[in-house]
């Protein structure tokens, strides 16, 4: 029975580790894109669709 515990702990442990890696990667990606967008906006760069809207108004 104790030998089985090792397999159970290993499968839950591996799942938690790998899912944490996936979630962490998505959060890091989110931070990277948010910072890049902020940096572009402070430089005054706008998307084409935004400038078009400005022209129309």
């Amino acid at each position: 029975m104790t030998s089985h515990t090792a397999f159970i702990v290993a499968s839950y442990g591996a799942s938690i580790l790998i899912l944490a890696g996936l979630i962490g990667w998505i959060f890091i990606d989110q931070r990277t894109q948010r910072l890049a967008l902020q940096e572009l906006e402070t430089r005054g760069v706008r998307r084409r669709s935004d400038t078009k809207a400005d022209d129309a108004s």
Binding site: M1, S3, H4, T5, F7, I8, A10, S11, Y12, A14, S15, I18, L19, L22, I23, W25, I26, D29, Q30, Q33, R34, A36, L37, L40, R43, V45, R46, R47, R48
Partner: protein, 255 residues
Amino acid sequence: MSDAVSKTGRWIDLANPTRFLSLAGAVLPWLSGMTMIVLAAGFWMSMQAPDDYQQGATVKIMFIHVPFAWLSMMCYTIMTVAALGTLVWRHPLADVSAKAAAPIGAVFTALALITGSLWGKPMWGTWWVWDARLTSVFVLFLMYLGIIALTRAMDDPAKSAKATAILTLVGFINIPIIKFSVDWWNTLHQPASVIRIGGSTIDPSLLWPLLVMAIGFTLLFFTLHMMAMRNEIWRRRVVAMRRVAARSAERRPVQ
């Protein structure tokens, strides 16, 4: 007629990435909160569940292995629908959805293989056999890796979208093969026991934790998929804005 027009109008609203971003911003806190609650409840129920009369405590691996395997197929099915959206309707979010889903699907497939292997060793006496179910799921994992590579092989997402969509559609043939592999061929893997004609063969004391865990991991999938889609939209905006910045820098006279 006017009703049909307004319906299409609403659809186009949903296709608008900006609308999607505000929807994601509103939905994500709730979705992630629900994911955490359901997964915590599922985990607690799994720990309380009794041992199986044949498999002993290793039945606990079922509570994560089965949801991972379900999700690996559900994710691919979502990507197939997205591929149709790219090819038929050229829906601007379809390619974003497929590209964002692929790594998540690959992770769930890998986890299904890993937990299955860790369950197979004590119960079957082997980590791995090249039988129909295991091999077809391994092929699914390779398909995910191929799709991930293709979505990232070209700088212009418009170019890779079509090729990825076609590859995804062709690969969908694997999904019914995985599902029915246990009926069509002799395999070590057991046949369907939860969703089957004649009702589930699993005792309610084990079925309930499994269902709650499955709902929890499905919510986790949708949370992560929505976050990854939002990241992908932002990434494309950053690329577009950098292009605009480079072009306006070119136009500016040299000082």
